[in-house]
């Protein structure tokens, strides 16, 4: 409702997640990948060429009190998955809360982090 009028841009959450040590990249969501595949101008579009924010999904909370953000990330081998995911969670939540507060919309923010892949050290994209 009024509290959710200002939507946090996915780029804010994506940049916060990518800044966490051990995060190799964000995994684009299915809908974004399908949409990119259907583009006639870029038939060879791959996940690697998609912007990081394609791995972020933002939905209003069911009660309208704020936002739920889902981040799908690829980790670098050698980082404990639960620790890296926890860091992503905390970093994204803090960054989005700051953004919303700065834009006059201090609302609730929940975050789900999904590790979709653990990439070898020499293949981090």
């Amino acid at each position: 409702m009024a509290a959710t009028a200002t939507s946090p841009p996915p780029t804010v959450a994506a940049e916060a997640a990518l800044a966490v040590p051990g995060v190799a990249g964000l995994q684009p969501r299915l809908a974004r990948r399908l949409a990119a595949a259907a583009l006639p101008t870029r038939p060879e579009t791959t996940a690697g060429r998609m912007p990081p924010e394609a791995g972020v999904r933002t939905d209003p909370l069911p009660d309208g009190s704020g936002w739920h953000i889902e981040v799908r990330c690829v980790l670098v081998e050698g980082h404990r998955a639960v620790d890296a995911a926890r860091n992503v969670h905390n970093q994204v939540r803090a960054t989005v809360l700051s953004y919303l507060a700065a834009h006059g919309a201090p609302v609730a923010v929940t975050v789900t982090v999904t590790v979709t892949r653990i990439a070898a050290r020499d293949h981090t994209s």
Binding site: L34, A81, D83, A85, T110, T112, T114, V115, T116, R117
Partner: protein, 225 residues
């Protein structure tokens, strides 16, 4: 209607109800857009008769130039339509392939499992976790992981692991299996942060003893054991 048809039967009176008097069309239900030929036959009926595999006994269909001309025109159109239908529009197959590749990749992620954090909503794809656990099993001498499935257990963060593997018979299987189990639990805790509750291991095959390491190598033959 047969108004201008020199081949029209004299018994067919010119008039609006011409086609309805034709026995060939009397009980045919004309569909929207159907066309009456100059001879009075409906185009759909003429086409149906021409498509019929059994030889026609209708003298009109066999001799009428209007019917023949209409059927020939439709046959040409039919052939062209079939040819176009068989020809894939450019890029359509490639698009379907891309879409299916993406969907398959999404399916390959497997189910989402809870990571061992009881407060935050942190998850890992089954495929990502299984890859790490398979590698842990492969690190055990005389063991080679085949399949690895993971499933959440209950409402908490517990996860069940079921692995099939091939094992060498150089030492007792229970020893190998126990070592694989310990390796899986260790990797789940240390590399992933996954709260594994049970590890079911099924030995489905035996491993042949490894060949001597020097055979077939590009390295200089340094001596034989």
């Amino acid at each position: 209607m047969a108004l201008d048809d020199p081949h029209a039967q004299p018994s067919e009176p010119p008039g609006n109800d011409g086609p309805h008097d034709d026995p060939a069309t009397r009980d045919a239900a004309p569909f929207a857009g159907d066309q009456a030929l100059p001879c009075g036959r409906l185009l759909s009926k003429a086409w149906e008769q021409a498509q019929d595999a059994t030889p026609t006994t209708d003298p009109h269909a066999a001799s009428c130039p209007h019917c023949r001309e209409a059927v020939e025109g439709l046959a040409t159109l039919n052939a062209a339509t079939r040819a176009l239908r068989a020809k894939d529009p450019p890029g359509l197959q490639a698009l379907a392939r891309r879409v299916m590749d993406i969907v398959r990749a999404e399916v390959r992620l497997g189910r989402l499992l809870p990571l061992a954090d009881t407060v935050l909503d942190l998850r890992i794809a089954e495929s990502a976790a299984a890859k790490v656990l398979r590698r842990a099993a492969d690190a055990v001498p005389g063991a080679r992981a085949a399949t690895c499935r993971l499933a959440p257990e209950g409402e908490g963060t517990g996860v069940q692991v079921t692995m099939t593997l091939a094992a060498a018979l150089e030492r007792p299987l229970p020893d190998t299996v126990n070592q694989v189990r310990r390796s899986i639990i260790h990797a789940a805790e240390q590399a992933l942060g996954l709260a594994v509750t049970t590890v079911d291991i099924i030995v489905v095959d035996t491993l042949e003893p490894f060949p001597p390491p020097a055979t077939g190598s590009a390295a200089a033959p340094e001596g034989e054991a």
